[in-house]
Protein backbone atom coordinates (compact mmCIF):
# COMPACT_ATOMS: atom_id res chain seq x y z
CA UNK A 1 0.00 0.00 0.00
CA UNK A 2 1.73 3.09 -1.22
CA UNK A 3 1.66 5.90 1.21
CA UNK A 4 3.84 8.29 -0.66
CA UNK A 5 3.25 11.70 0.66
CA UNK A 6 2.28 14.57 -1.49
CA UNK A 7 4.91 15.91 -3.81
CA UNK A 8 5.71 19.50 -3.57
CA UNK A 9 3.91 20.85 -6.60
CA UNK A 10 0.43 22.24 -6.96
CA UNK A 11 -1.16 24.95 -5.00
CA UNK A 12 -2.66 22.86 -2.33
CA UNK A 13 -1.30 20.09 -0.18
CA UNK A 14 -4.50 18.34 0.70
CA UNK A 15 -4.04 18.48 4.43
CA UNK A 16 -4.98 22.08 4.71
CA UNK A 17 -6.31 22.61 8.20
CA UNK A 18 -4.66 20.20 10.56
CA UNK A 19 -7.12 18.79 13.03
CA UNK A 20 -6.03 21.12 15.78
CA UNK A 21 -6.83 23.98 13.51
CA UNK A 22 -10.13 22.46 12.65
CA UNK A 23 -10.97 22.35 16.30
CA UNK A 24 -10.61 26.07 16.73
CA UNK A 25 -13.13 27.92 14.61
CA UNK A 26 -15.31 24.90 14.28
CA UNK A 27 -16.15 24.84 17.92
CA UNK A 28 -17.88 28.13 17.32
CA UNK A 29 -20.07 26.35 14.83
CA UNK A 30 -20.75 23.54 17.17
CA UNK A 31 -22.09 26.12 19.53
CA UNK A 32 -24.41 27.47 16.93
CA UNK A 33 -26.49 24.41 16.48
CA UNK A 34 -27.85 24.24 19.98
CA UNK A 35 -28.04 28.03 19.97
CA UNK A 36 -30.63 28.01 17.25
CA UNK A 37 -32.63 25.45 19.12
CA UNK A 38 -32.38 27.47 22.30
CA UNK A 39 -33.68 30.55 20.58
CA UNK A 40 -36.56 28.65 19.11
CA UNK A 41 -37.52 27.09 22.39
CA UNK A 42 -37.19 30.42 24.11
CA UNK A 43 -39.52 32.06 21.63
CA UNK A 44 -42.00 29.26 21.94
CA UNK A 45 -42.03 29.55 25.71
CA UNK A 46 -42.38 33.32 25.54
CA UNK A 47 -45.26 32.91 23.14
CA UNK A 48 -47.08 30.47 25.36
CA UNK A 49 -46.56 32.66 28.37
CA UNK A 50 -47.78 35.70 26.52
CA UNK A 51 -50.89 33.94 25.35
CA UNK A 52 -51.61 32.53 28.75
CA UNK A 53 -51.16 35.80 30.54
CA UNK A 54 -53.24 37.75 28.06
CA UNK A 55 -56.00 35.20 28.23
CA UNK A 56 -55.94 35.11 31.97
CA UNK A 57 -56.15 38.85 32.26
CA UNK A 58 -59.07 39.12 29.92
CA UNK A 59 -61.01 36.41 31.60
CA UNK A 60 -60.18 37.69 35.03
CA UNK A 61 -61.30 41.17 34.12
CA UNK A 62 -64.55 39.72 32.93
CA UNK A 63 -64.90 42.19 30.09
CA UNK A 64 -66.97 39.81 28.04
CA UNK A 65 -69.94 37.81 29.15
CA UNK A 66 -70.26 34.10 28.46
CA UNK A 67 -72.95 34.86 25.93
CA UNK A 68 -70.57 37.10 24.06
CA UNK A 69 -67.90 34.44 24.07
CA UNK A 70 -70.43 31.97 22.80
CA UNK A 71 -71.39 34.24 19.95
CA UNK A 72 -67.77 34.71 19.08
CA UNK A 73 -67.25 30.98 19.04
CA UNK A 74 -70.18 30.37 16.73
CA UNK A 75 -69.05 33.13 14.46
CA UNK A 76 -65.60 31.64 14.50
CA UNK A 77 -66.93 28.27 13.42
CA UNK A 78 -68.89 29.81 10.61
CA UNK A 79 -65.92 31.82 9.46
CA UNK A 80 -63.76 28.77 9.81
CA UNK A 81 -66.09 26.75 7.63
CA UNK A 82 -65.61 29.23 4.85
CA UNK A 83 -61.88 29.12 5.30
CA UNK A 84 -62.02 25.35 5.25
CA UNK A 85 -63.76 25.28 1.89
CA UNK A 86 -61.19 27.57 0.36
CA UNK A 87 -58.35 25.74 2.07
CA UNK A 88 -59.48 22.51 0.47
CA UNK A 89 -58.81 24.05 -2.91
CA UNK A 90 -55.28 24.91 -1.89
CA UNK A 91 -54.57 21.55 -0.43
CA UNK A 92 -55.95 19.59 -3.34
CA UNK A 93 -53.85 21.47 -5.84
CA UNK A 94 -50.79 21.25 -3.65
CA UNK A 95 -51.21 17.56 -3.19
CA UNK A 96 -51.13 17.01 -6.92
CA UNK A 97 -48.83 19.66 -8.27
CA UNK A 98 -46.80 20.66 -5.24
CA UNK A 99 -47.49 24.24 -5.98
CA UNK A 100 -49.27 26.92 -4.01
CA UNK A 101 -52.04 28.28 -6.17
CA UNK A 102 -51.59 31.81 -5.05
CA UNK A 103 -54.46 32.91 -7.24
CA UNK A 104 -56.98 30.69 -5.50
CA UNK A 105 -58.25 33.61 -3.49
CA UNK A 106 -59.23 35.25 -6.74
CA UNK A 107 -61.05 32.10 -7.82
CA UNK A 108 -63.08 32.53 -4.66
CA UNK A 109 -63.69 36.19 -5.42
CA UNK A 110 -64.75 35.61 -8.98
CA UNK A 111 -67.65 33.40 -8.03
CA UNK A 112 -68.87 35.41 -5.11
CA UNK A 113 -68.61 38.70 -6.92
CA UNK A 114 -70.24 37.55 -10.14
CA UNK A 115 -73.11 35.97 -8.31
CA UNK A 116 -73.77 39.28 -6.66
CA UNK A 117 -75.16 40.68 -9.87
CA UNK A 118 -77.54 37.80 -10.15
CA UNK A 119 -78.52 38.28 -6.55
CA UNK A 120 -79.21 41.93 -7.11
CA UNK A 121 -81.23 41.19 -10.20
CA UNK A 122 -83.24 38.58 -8.36
CA UNK A 123 -83.80 40.95 -5.52
CA UNK A 124 -85.08 43.65 -7.82
CA UNK A 125 -87.45 41.17 -9.35
CA UNK A 126 -88.62 40.20 -5.91
CA UNK A 127 -87.62 36.63 -6.63
CA UNK A 128 -84.95 36.59 -4.00
CA UNK A 129 -87.30 36.91 -1.10
CA UNK A 130 -90.16 34.96 -2.55
CA UNK A 131 -88.15 31.87 -3.22
CA UNK A 132 -85.11 32.16 -0.99
CA UNK A 133 -84.11 28.53 -1.13
CA UNK A 134 -84.25 28.34 -4.89
CA UNK A 135 -82.57 31.69 -5.21
CA UNK A 136 -79.67 30.71 -3.03
CA UNK A 137 -79.27 27.47 -4.94
CA UNK A 138 -79.17 29.40 -8.19
CA UNK A 139 -76.59 31.73 -6.74
CA UNK A 140 -74.54 28.78 -5.62
CA UNK A 141 -74.70 27.33 -9.09
CA UNK A 142 -73.62 30.56 -10.71
CA UNK A 143 -70.79 31.15 -8.30
CA UNK A 144 -69.53 27.62 -8.59
CA UNK A 145 -69.68 27.76 -12.36
CA UNK A 146 -67.78 31.02 -12.59
CA UNK A 147 -65.16 29.99 -10.07
CA UNK A 148 -64.64 26.68 -11.75
CA UNK A 149 -64.22 28.35 -15.11
CA UNK A 150 -61.64 30.73 -13.73
CA UNK A 151 -59.77 27.93 -12.00
CA UNK A 152 -59.68 25.70 -15.04
CA UNK A 153 -58.66 28.54 -17.33
CA UNK A 154 -55.94 29.45 -14.88
CA UNK A 155 -54.58 25.95 -15.00
CA UNK A 156 -54.71 25.75 -18.75
CA UNK A 157 -53.16 29.10 -19.52
CA UNK A 158 -50.78 29.83 -16.68
CA UNK A 159 -49.87 26.61 -14.97
CA UNK A 160 -49.86 23.86 -17.52
CA UNK A 161 -46.98 25.26 -19.57
CA UNK A 162 -44.94 25.33 -16.39
CA UNK A 163 -45.77 21.87 -15.13
CA UNK A 164 -42.15 20.84 -14.89
CA UNK A 165 -40.50 24.12 -14.10
CA UNK A 166 -38.52 24.67 -10.93
CA UNK A 167 -40.80 25.52 -8.09
CA UNK A 168 -40.32 29.24 -7.92
CA UNK A 169 -41.49 29.88 -11.44
CA UNK A 170 -45.04 28.61 -11.00
CA UNK A 171 -45.22 30.55 -7.77
CA UNK A 172 -44.28 33.78 -9.45
CA UNK A 173 -46.75 32.97 -12.19
CA UNK A 174 -49.42 32.43 -9.61
CA UNK A 175 -48.67 35.77 -8.04
CA UNK A 176 -48.90 37.42 -11.41
CA UNK A 177 -52.13 35.62 -12.15
CA UNK A 178 -53.58 36.70 -8.84
CA UNK A 179 -52.73 40.30 -9.55
CA UNK A 180 -54.09 40.02 -13.05
CA UNK A 181 -57.38 38.56 -11.92
CA UNK A 182 -57.87 41.08 -9.19
CA UNK A 183 -57.48 44.03 -11.46
CA UNK A 184 -59.29 42.45 -14.35
CA UNK A 185 -62.31 42.12 -12.17
CA UNK A 186 -61.87 45.67 -11.12
CA UNK A 187 -61.93 46.61 -14.75
CA UNK A 188 -64.98 44.49 -15.36
CA UNK A 189 -67.09 45.14 -12.31
CA UNK A 190 -65.68 48.36 -10.99
CA UNK A 191 -63.99 49.20 -7.75
CA UNK A 192 -67.03 49.87 -5.62
CA UNK A 193 -67.85 47.71 -2.68
CA UNK A 194 -71.18 46.09 -3.22
CA UNK A 195 -73.45 44.64 -0.61
CA UNK A 196 -75.48 41.57 -1.16
CA UNK A 197 -79.19 42.21 -0.80
CA UNK A 198 -80.77 40.98 2.35
CA UNK A 199 -82.68 37.76 2.28
CA UNK A 200 -85.50 38.12 4.78
CA UNK A 201 -85.87 34.44 5.29
CA UNK A 202 -82.31 34.28 6.47
CA UNK A 203 -82.31 37.19 8.83
CA UNK A 204 -82.57 36.55 12.49
CA UNK A 205 -81.65 33.59 14.55
CA UNK A 206 -82.59 30.03 15.10
CA UNK A 207 -82.30 28.45 18.45
CA UNK A 208 -80.57 25.14 18.17
CA UNK A 209 -79.99 23.16 21.30
CA UNK A 210 -80.70 26.23 23.33
CA UNK A 211 -78.10 28.31 21.58
CA UNK A 212 -79.26 31.18 19.43
CA UNK A 213 -77.34 31.07 16.18
CA UNK A 214 -77.64 33.53 13.35
CA UNK A 215 -79.48 31.83 10.52
CA UNK A 216 -76.84 32.74 8.01
CA UNK A 217 -74.15 31.26 10.18
CA UNK A 218 -76.09 28.08 10.65
CA UNK A 219 -76.58 27.70 6.92
CA UNK A 220 -72.92 28.34 6.29
CA UNK A 221 -71.85 25.71 8.76
CA UNK A 222 -74.26 23.12 7.47
CA UNK A 223 -73.56 23.80 3.82
CA UNK A 224 -69.82 23.70 4.32
CA UNK A 225 -70.10 20.48 6.21
CA UNK A 226 -72.23 18.95 3.50
CA UNK A 227 -69.75 19.95 0.82
CA UNK A 228 -66.83 18.58 2.78
CA UNK A 229 -68.59 15.30 3.35
CA UNK A 230 -69.42 15.19 -0.33
CA UNK A 231 -65.80 15.78 -1.19
CA UNK A 232 -64.71 13.07 1.15
CA UNK A 233 -66.97 10.54 -0.46
CA UNK A 234 -65.90 11.67 -3.88
CA UNK A 235 -62.24 11.24 -3.10
CA UNK A 236 -62.58 7.94 -1.36
CA UNK A 237 -65.33 6.21 -3.29
CA UNK A 238 -65.24 7.27 -6.91
CA UNK A 239 -62.86 6.26 -9.64
CA UNK A 240 -61.84 9.82 -10.30
CA UNK A 241 -61.17 10.29 -6.63
CA UNK A 242 -58.94 7.27 -6.66
CA UNK A 243 -57.15 8.58 -9.70
CA UNK A 244 -56.62 11.85 -7.92
CA UNK A 245 -55.08 10.12 -4.98
CA UNK A 246 -52.87 8.11 -7.28
CA UNK A 247 -51.62 11.16 -9.12
CA UNK A 248 -50.98 12.87 -5.81
CA UNK A 249 -48.83 9.94 -4.75
CA UNK A 250 -46.74 9.62 -7.85
CA UNK A 251 -47.59 11.39 -11.05
CA UNK A 252 -45.35 9.38 -13.33
CA UNK A 253 -46.43 5.99 -12.16
CA UNK A 254 -50.04 7.02 -12.30
CA UNK A 255 -49.70 7.97 -15.93
CA UNK A 256 -47.97 4.68 -16.60
CA UNK A 257 -50.97 2.97 -15.06
CA UNK A 258 -53.13 4.53 -17.70
CA UNK A 259 -54.52 7.46 -15.77
CA UNK A 260 -55.02 10.58 -17.81
CA UNK A 261 -52.99 12.91 -15.65
CA UNK A 262 -54.12 16.04 -17.44
CA UNK A 263 -57.74 15.23 -16.87
CA UNK A 264 -57.09 14.53 -13.21
CA UNK A 265 -55.32 17.83 -12.78
CA UNK A 266 -58.08 19.72 -14.49
CA UNK A 267 -60.64 17.95 -12.32
CA UNK A 268 -58.68 18.87 -9.22
CA UNK A 269 -58.69 22.50 -10.17
CA UNK A 270 -62.36 22.28 -11.04
CA UNK A 271 -63.28 20.80 -7.69
CA UNK A 272 -61.19 23.39 -5.91
CA UNK A 273 -62.98 26.00 -7.93
CA UNK A 274 -66.41 24.64 -7.09
CA UNK A 275 -65.66 24.66 -3.40
CA UNK A 276 -64.26 28.14 -3.62
CA UNK A 277 -67.30 29.35 -5.49
CA UNK A 278 -69.57 27.90 -2.85
CA UNK A 279 -67.40 29.55 -0.24
CA UNK A 280 -67.96 32.79 -2.07
CA UNK A 281 -71.70 32.58 -1.63
CA UNK A 282 -71.39 31.54 1.98
CA UNK A 283 -69.03 34.41 2.57
CA UNK A 284 -71.56 36.74 1.00
CA UNK A 285 -74.26 35.43 3.29
CA UNK A 286 -72.25 36.16 6.40
CA UNK A 287 -70.22 39.20 5.48
CA UNK A 288 -72.45 40.60 2.77
CA UNK A 289 -69.82 42.73 1.10
CA UNK A 290 -68.06 41.91 -2.13
CA UNK A 291 -65.19 43.75 -3.71
CA UNK A 292 -62.52 42.98 -6.23
CA UNK A 293 -59.93 42.59 -3.51
CA UNK A 294 -62.09 40.41 -1.33
CA UNK A 295 -60.13 37.33 -2.23
CA UNK A 296 -56.77 38.45 -0.95
CA UNK A 297 -57.15 38.13 2.80
CA UNK A 298 -59.40 35.07 2.85
CA UNK A 299 -57.01 33.50 0.37
CA UNK A 300 -54.02 33.93 2.61
CA UNK A 301 -55.96 32.88 5.66
CA UNK A 302 -57.25 29.80 3.92
CA UNK A 303 -53.71 29.00 2.94
CA UNK A 304 -52.73 29.41 6.57
CA UNK A 305 -55.48 27.02 7.47
CA UNK A 306 -54.24 24.49 4.97
CA UNK A 307 -50.75 24.79 6.38
CA UNK A 308 -51.97 24.44 9.96
CA UNK A 309 -53.73 21.26 9.09
CA UNK A 310 -50.87 20.00 7.03
CA UNK A 311 -50.84 20.96 3.41
CA UNK A 312 -51.75 18.04 1.22
CA UNK A 313 -54.14 16.62 3.77
CA UNK A 314 -57.86 17.07 3.19
CA UNK A 315 -58.82 16.49 6.77
CA UNK A 316 -56.08 18.86 7.70
CA UNK A 317 -57.53 21.60 5.56
CA UNK A 318 -60.93 21.18 7.12
CA UNK A 319 -59.66 21.10 10.66
CA UNK A 320 -57.20 23.86 10.01
CA UNK A 321 -59.90 26.06 8.61
CA UNK A 322 -62.15 25.63 11.60
CA UNK A 323 -59.30 26.15 13.97
CA UNK A 324 -58.15 29.29 12.29
CA UNK A 325 -61.65 30.70 12.13
CA UNK A 326 -62.07 30.15 15.81
CA UNK A 327 -58.73 31.57 16.73
CA UNK A 328 -59.24 34.58 14.59
CA UNK A 329 -62.61 35.32 16.14
CA UNK A 330 -61.69 34.73 19.73
CA UNK A 331 -58.03 35.53 20.05
CA UNK A 332 -58.01 39.27 19.48
CA UNK A 333 -60.37 39.78 22.32
CA UNK A 334 -59.09 37.03 24.48
CA UNK A 335 -55.46 37.94 24.32
CA UNK A 336 -55.12 41.50 23.41
CA UNK A 337 -57.80 43.42 25.16
CA UNK A 338 -56.60 41.83 28.32
CA UNK A 339 -53.15 43.10 27.60
CA UNK A 340 -54.53 46.56 27.25
CA UNK A 341 -54.06 46.91 23.54
CA UNK A 342 -56.52 49.36 22.03
CA UNK A 343 -58.73 48.35 19.13
CA UNK A 344 -57.70 44.71 19.07
CA UNK A 345 -59.91 44.06 16.10
CA UNK A 346 -57.50 45.82 13.84
CA UNK A 347 -54.95 43.24 14.72
CA UNK A 348 -57.18 40.33 13.83
CA UNK A 349 -55.27 39.82 10.63
CA UNK A 350 -51.98 40.05 12.42
CA UNK A 351 -53.06 37.09 14.47
CA UNK A 352 -53.75 35.06 11.38
CA UNK A 353 -50.46 36.03 9.78
CA UNK A 354 -48.57 35.38 12.96
CA UNK A 355 -50.08 31.95 13.20
CA UNK A 356 -48.95 31.32 9.67
CA UNK A 357 -45.43 32.39 10.42
CA UNK A 358 -45.27 30.43 13.63
CA UNK A 359 -46.62 27.25 12.10
CA UNK A 360 -44.35 27.41 9.10
CA UNK A 361 -41.33 28.00 11.25
CA UNK A 362 -42.04 25.63 14.05
CA UNK A 363 -43.92 22.84 12.42
CA UNK A 364 -44.23 23.16 8.69
CA UNK A 365 -45.84 19.78 8.46
CA UNK A 366 -48.88 21.01 10.27
CA UNK A 367 -51.18 18.85 12.27
CA UNK A 368 -51.79 16.07 9.83
CA UNK A 369 -48.93 16.77 7.52
CA UNK A 370 -47.89 13.91 5.37
CA UNK A 371 -45.66 16.03 3.21
CA UNK A 372 -43.02 17.56 5.36
CA UNK A 373 -41.42 20.30 3.31
CA UNK A 374 -37.90 19.16 3.86
CA UNK A 375 -35.11 21.48 3.01
CA UNK A 376 -33.45 18.84 0.87
Amino acid sequence: MATSSATTESAEPPASPPPGDAGGPQLGLADRIPLRRIIRWGLAVALVLGIASGAYQTLAAGVFSPAQWRDLVVFGIAQGSIYALIALGYTLVYGILFMINFAHGEVFMAGGFTAFFAARAMDQAGFLNQQPVLAVLILLAIAMAVSTTVAVTLERVAYRPLRNAPRLIPLITAIGASLFLQYSFRGLYGEDIHSYPRIDALTGTWTIAGIPILRTQAIVIVAALALMVGLYFFISRTTMGRSMRAVAEDREIASLMGIDVNRVIVTTFAIGGMLAGAAGILYALVFRQVHFLMGFLPGIKAFTAAVIGGIGSIIGAAVGGLLLGLLEAVAPFLLLSGAGIPAPNQLKDVIAFSILVIVLIMRPGGLFGSREPEKL
Partner: protein, 259 residues
Protein backbone atom coordinates in the same frame (compact mmCIF):
# COMPACT_ATOMS: atom_id res chain seq x y z
CA UNK B 1 -5.17 5.80 14.19
CA UNK B 2 -6.98 5.69 10.91
CA UNK B 3 -7.89 8.88 9.17
CA UNK B 4 -11.51 7.86 9.03
CA UNK B 5 -13.06 5.62 11.64
CA UNK B 6 -16.65 4.48 11.46
CA UNK B 7 -18.13 2.51 14.33
CA UNK B 8 -21.58 1.06 14.55
CA UNK B 9 -23.07 3.44 12.02
CA UNK B 10 -26.80 3.03 11.60
CA UNK B 11 -29.37 4.86 9.50
CA UNK B 12 -32.99 4.05 8.79
CA UNK B 13 -35.55 5.70 6.61
CA UNK B 14 -38.96 4.95 7.98
CA UNK B 15 -39.07 1.20 8.09
CA UNK B 16 -36.09 0.65 5.84
CA UNK B 17 -32.66 0.18 7.41
CA UNK B 18 -30.20 1.64 4.95
CA UNK B 19 -27.02 1.24 6.98
CA UNK B 20 -26.83 -1.38 9.64
CA UNK B 21 -24.15 -1.26 12.33
CA UNK B 22 -21.32 -0.53 9.96
CA UNK B 23 -17.67 -0.47 10.95
CA UNK B 24 -15.12 0.88 8.56
CA UNK B 25 -11.57 2.19 8.72
CA UNK B 26 -9.67 4.16 6.14
CA UNK B 27 -6.03 4.87 6.76
CA UNK B 28 -4.33 7.95 5.44
CA UNK B 29 -3.17 7.54 1.88
CA UNK B 30 -5.31 4.49 1.25
CA UNK B 31 -7.64 3.98 -1.66
CA UNK B 32 -10.62 1.96 -0.49
CA UNK B 33 -13.40 0.89 -2.79
CA UNK B 34 -16.94 0.31 -1.64
CA UNK B 35 -18.91 -2.14 -3.72
CA UNK B 36 -22.28 -3.76 -3.48
CA UNK B 37 -25.47 -4.25 -5.44
CA UNK B 38 -27.85 -1.38 -5.94
CA UNK B 39 -29.58 -0.34 -2.80
CA UNK B 40 -26.81 -1.66 -0.62
CA UNK B 41 -26.46 1.72 0.99
CA UNK B 42 -23.27 2.97 -0.58
CA UNK B 43 -24.40 6.46 -1.47
CA UNK B 44 -26.22 6.64 1.86
CA UNK B 45 -22.88 5.97 3.47
CA UNK B 46 -21.38 8.90 1.65
CA UNK B 47 -24.31 11.07 2.64
CA UNK B 48 -23.84 10.10 6.25
CA UNK B 49 -20.15 10.84 6.21
CA UNK B 50 -20.63 14.23 4.61
CA UNK B 51 -23.42 15.13 6.99
CA UNK B 52 -26.23 15.28 4.47
CA UNK B 53 -28.18 12.76 6.52
CA UNK B 54 -27.96 12.69 10.29
CA UNK B 55 -26.94 9.28 11.53
CA UNK B 56 -29.34 7.42 13.75
CA UNK B 57 -26.60 5.78 15.69
CA UNK B 58 -22.89 5.11 15.75
CA UNK B 59 -19.88 7.32 15.35
CA UNK B 60 -17.84 8.71 12.51
CA UNK B 61 -14.47 10.01 13.51
CA UNK B 62 -12.23 11.88 11.13
CA UNK B 63 -8.74 12.52 12.36
CA UNK B 64 -9.99 12.37 15.89
CA UNK B 65 -12.93 14.70 15.38
CA UNK B 66 -16.47 13.43 15.74
CA UNK B 67 -18.52 14.13 12.64
CA UNK B 68 -22.00 12.93 13.48
CA UNK B 69 -24.39 15.80 14.05
CA UNK B 70 -22.34 18.41 12.27
CA UNK B 71 -23.41 20.50 9.31
CA UNK B 72 -22.10 19.47 5.91
CA UNK B 73 -20.13 22.66 5.46
CA UNK B 74 -18.34 22.10 8.74
CA UNK B 75 -17.43 18.59 7.70
CA UNK B 76 -15.99 19.92 4.49
CA UNK B 77 -13.89 22.33 6.44
CA UNK B 78 -12.54 19.42 8.43
CA UNK B 79 -11.23 17.97 5.22
CA UNK B 80 -13.74 15.70 3.52
CA UNK B 81 -15.13 16.31 0.08
CA UNK B 82 -17.00 14.33 -2.53
CA UNK B 83 -18.37 13.90 -5.99
CA UNK B 84 -21.86 12.77 -6.87
CA UNK B 85 -23.37 9.83 -8.61
CA UNK B 86 -25.29 12.01 -11.02
CA UNK B 87 -22.87 14.81 -11.67
CA UNK B 88 -23.97 17.91 -9.82
CA UNK B 89 -21.98 20.83 -11.01
CA UNK B 90 -23.08 24.43 -10.95
CA UNK B 91 -24.25 24.47 -14.53
CA UNK B 92 -24.27 28.17 -15.24
CA UNK B 93 -20.99 28.92 -13.58
CA UNK B 94 -17.85 28.63 -15.62
CA UNK B 95 -15.39 25.80 -15.27
CA UNK B 96 -13.01 28.04 -13.41
CA UNK B 97 -15.73 29.39 -11.16
CA UNK B 98 -16.87 25.92 -10.23
CA UNK B 99 -13.39 25.17 -8.95
CA UNK B 100 -13.03 28.57 -7.35
CA UNK B 101 -16.18 27.90 -5.36
CA UNK B 102 -14.44 24.86 -3.99
CA UNK B 103 -11.86 27.13 -2.43
CA UNK B 104 -14.55 28.94 -0.51
CA UNK B 105 -14.06 27.21 2.79
CA UNK B 106 -10.34 27.96 2.79
CA UNK B 107 -10.73 31.65 2.18
CA UNK B 108 -12.33 34.38 4.12
CA UNK B 109 -12.83 37.67 2.32
CA UNK B 110 -16.29 39.06 2.78
CA UNK B 111 -18.61 41.78 1.61
CA UNK B 112 -16.47 44.68 2.78
CA UNK B 113 -13.36 43.40 1.12
CA UNK B 114 -15.14 42.72 -2.12
CA UNK B 115 -16.95 46.01 -2.34
CA UNK B 116 -14.08 48.21 -1.32
CA UNK B 117 -11.56 46.28 -3.32
CA UNK B 118 -9.26 45.90 -0.37
CA UNK B 119 -5.81 44.61 -1.25
CA UNK B 120 -6.26 41.55 0.93
CA UNK B 121 -9.44 40.63 -0.90
CA UNK B 122 -7.89 41.22 -4.26
CA UNK B 123 -4.88 39.18 -3.37
CA UNK B 124 -7.05 36.37 -2.15
CA UNK B 125 -9.13 36.45 -5.31
CA UNK B 126 -6.00 36.24 -7.49
CA UNK B 127 -4.67 33.42 -5.36
CA UNK B 128 -7.89 31.51 -5.61
CA UNK B 129 -7.90 31.93 -9.35
CA UNK B 130 -4.35 30.67 -9.64
CA UNK B 131 -5.03 27.74 -7.37
CA UNK B 132 -8.07 26.83 -9.41
CA UNK B 133 -6.05 26.92 -12.60
CA UNK B 134 -3.39 24.75 -11.07
CA UNK B 135 -5.93 22.20 -9.96
CA UNK B 136 -7.46 22.15 -13.40
CA UNK B 137 -4.05 21.62 -14.95
CA UNK B 138 -3.92 18.32 -13.11
CA UNK B 139 -6.29 17.09 -15.78
CA UNK B 140 -4.02 18.01 -18.63
CA UNK B 141 -5.30 20.01 -21.52
CA UNK B 142 -8.83 18.79 -21.13
CA UNK B 143 -9.94 21.48 -18.75
CA UNK B 144 -7.39 24.12 -19.56
CA UNK B 145 -7.00 27.21 -21.61
CA UNK B 146 -10.14 28.43 -23.22
CA UNK B 147 -12.18 25.91 -21.27
CA UNK B 148 -11.74 27.95 -18.15
CA UNK B 149 -14.36 30.47 -19.10
CA UNK B 150 -16.91 28.15 -20.54
CA UNK B 151 -20.08 27.54 -18.60
CA UNK B 152 -20.05 24.10 -17.10
CA UNK B 153 -23.08 22.88 -18.98
CA UNK B 154 -21.27 22.84 -22.33
CA UNK B 155 -18.77 20.29 -21.14
CA UNK B 156 -18.87 16.73 -22.31
CA UNK B 157 -19.96 14.13 -19.82
CA UNK B 158 -16.48 12.88 -18.98
CA UNK B 159 -15.18 16.39 -18.59
CA UNK B 160 -17.98 17.15 -16.20
CA UNK B 161 -16.93 14.28 -14.02
CA UNK B 162 -13.40 15.55 -14.08
CA UNK B 163 -14.56 19.03 -13.19
CA UNK B 164 -16.46 17.66 -10.27
CA UNK B 165 -13.32 16.03 -9.01
CA UNK B 166 -11.42 19.25 -9.49
CA UNK B 167 -14.01 21.08 -7.47
CA UNK B 168 -13.77 18.54 -4.68
CA UNK B 169 -9.99 18.80 -4.77
CA UNK B 170 -10.23 22.56 -4.42
CA UNK B 171 -11.86 22.33 -1.02
CA UNK B 172 -8.49 21.38 0.39
CA UNK B 173 -9.80 18.06 1.55
CA UNK B 174 -7.69 15.21 2.79
CA UNK B 175 -10.30 12.58 2.12
CA UNK B 176 -12.10 12.43 -1.21
CA UNK B 177 -15.28 10.45 -1.62
CA UNK B 178 -15.84 9.54 -5.26
CA UNK B 179 -19.31 8.25 -6.07
CA UNK B 180 -19.18 6.08 -9.18
CA UNK B 181 -16.58 8.17 -10.97
CA UNK B 182 -16.66 6.18 -14.19
CA UNK B 183 -20.39 5.62 -14.58
CA UNK B 184 -21.31 6.21 -18.17
CA UNK B 185 -17.79 6.38 -19.55
CA UNK B 186 -16.32 4.41 -22.41
CA UNK B 187 -13.34 2.08 -21.87
CA UNK B 188 -10.72 4.64 -22.81
CA UNK B 189 -12.13 7.25 -20.46
CA UNK B 190 -12.46 4.62 -17.77
CA UNK B 191 -8.79 3.72 -18.09
CA UNK B 192 -7.89 7.39 -17.85
CA UNK B 193 -9.96 7.73 -14.73
CA UNK B 194 -8.24 4.76 -13.12
CA UNK B 195 -4.95 6.41 -13.78
CA UNK B 196 -6.29 9.69 -12.44
CA UNK B 197 -7.40 8.17 -9.18
CA UNK B 198 -3.96 6.71 -8.68
CA UNK B 199 -2.39 10.07 -9.39
CA UNK B 200 -4.69 11.72 -6.92
CA UNK B 201 -3.18 9.62 -4.23
CA UNK B 202 0.39 9.43 -5.48
CA UNK B 203 0.91 13.00 -6.60
CA UNK B 204 -1.51 14.87 -4.38
CA UNK B 205 -1.62 12.73 -1.30
CA UNK B 206 -5.38 12.34 -1.12
CA UNK B 207 -7.00 9.50 0.70
CA UNK B 208 -9.82 8.10 -1.36
CA UNK B 209 -13.00 6.25 -0.72
CA UNK B 210 -14.56 5.17 -3.99
CA UNK B 211 -17.97 3.73 -4.74
CA UNK B 212 -17.79 1.77 -7.90
CA UNK B 213 -19.60 -0.90 -9.85
CA UNK B 214 -17.07 -1.39 -12.59
CA UNK B 215 -14.81 -4.16 -11.34
CA UNK B 216 -12.00 -3.22 -13.65
CA UNK B 217 -11.81 0.08 -11.90
CA UNK B 218 -12.08 -1.49 -8.51
CA UNK B 219 -9.31 -3.83 -9.36
CA UNK B 220 -7.21 -1.10 -10.86
CA UNK B 221 -7.31 1.44 -8.05
CA UNK B 222 -8.02 -0.22 -4.78
CA UNK B 223 -5.72 -0.99 -1.96
CA UNK B 224 -8.65 -2.48 -0.14
CA UNK B 225 -12.22 -3.34 -1.02
CA UNK B 226 -15.27 -3.29 1.21
CA UNK B 227 -18.46 -5.00 0.11
CA UNK B 228 -21.87 -3.94 1.39
CA UNK B 229 -25.23 -5.57 1.08
CA UNK B 230 -28.44 -4.31 2.67
CA UNK B 231 -26.41 -1.81 4.60
CA UNK B 232 -24.15 -4.34 6.20
CA UNK B 233 -20.53 -5.08 5.53
CA UNK B 234 -20.27 -8.55 4.14
CA UNK B 235 -16.65 -8.69 3.11
CA UNK B 236 -13.44 -6.73 3.34
CA UNK B 237 -9.98 -7.28 2.03
CA UNK B 238 -7.97 -7.09 -1.17
CA UNK B 239 -9.73 -7.23 -4.48
CA UNK B 240 -9.10 -10.91 -5.08
CA UNK B 241 -10.19 -11.82 -1.58
CA UNK B 242 -13.45 -9.96 -1.89
CA UNK B 243 -14.15 -10.90 -5.49
CA UNK B 244 -13.91 -14.52 -4.59
CA UNK B 245 -15.95 -14.24 -1.44
CA UNK B 246 -19.06 -16.39 -1.53
CA UNK B 247 -21.29 -13.94 0.20
CA UNK B 248 -20.30 -11.22 -2.21
CA UNK B 249 -21.01 -13.39 -5.20
CA UNK B 250 -24.33 -14.32 -3.69
CA UNK B 251 -25.24 -10.70 -3.14
CA UNK B 252 -24.68 -9.91 -6.79
CA UNK B 253 -25.79 -13.08 -8.46
CA UNK B 254 -28.06 -14.79 -6.02
CA UNK B 255 -27.74 -18.08 -4.29
CA UNK B 256 -26.09 -20.90 -6.12
CA UNK B 257 -28.69 -23.37 -7.26
CA UNK B 258 -28.29 -26.56 -5.36
CA UNK B 259 -27.61 -29.14 -8.00
Amino acid sequence: MSLLEIRGLTKSFGGLTAIDDLDLDVAEGEIVSVIGPNGAGKTTLFNLITGVYPADGGAITFDGVELVGRDPDAITRFGISRTFQNVRLFPDMTVLENVMVGRHCRTKSGVIGAVLGLPSARREQAEVREQAKEILSFFGTRLSGYRHNQPAFVLSYANRRRLEIARAMATGARLLLLDEPVAGMNPRETAEMVELVGRLRDEKGFTLLVIEHDMRVVKGVSDRVVALDYGRKIAEGTYSEVAGNDRVIEAYLGKKATA
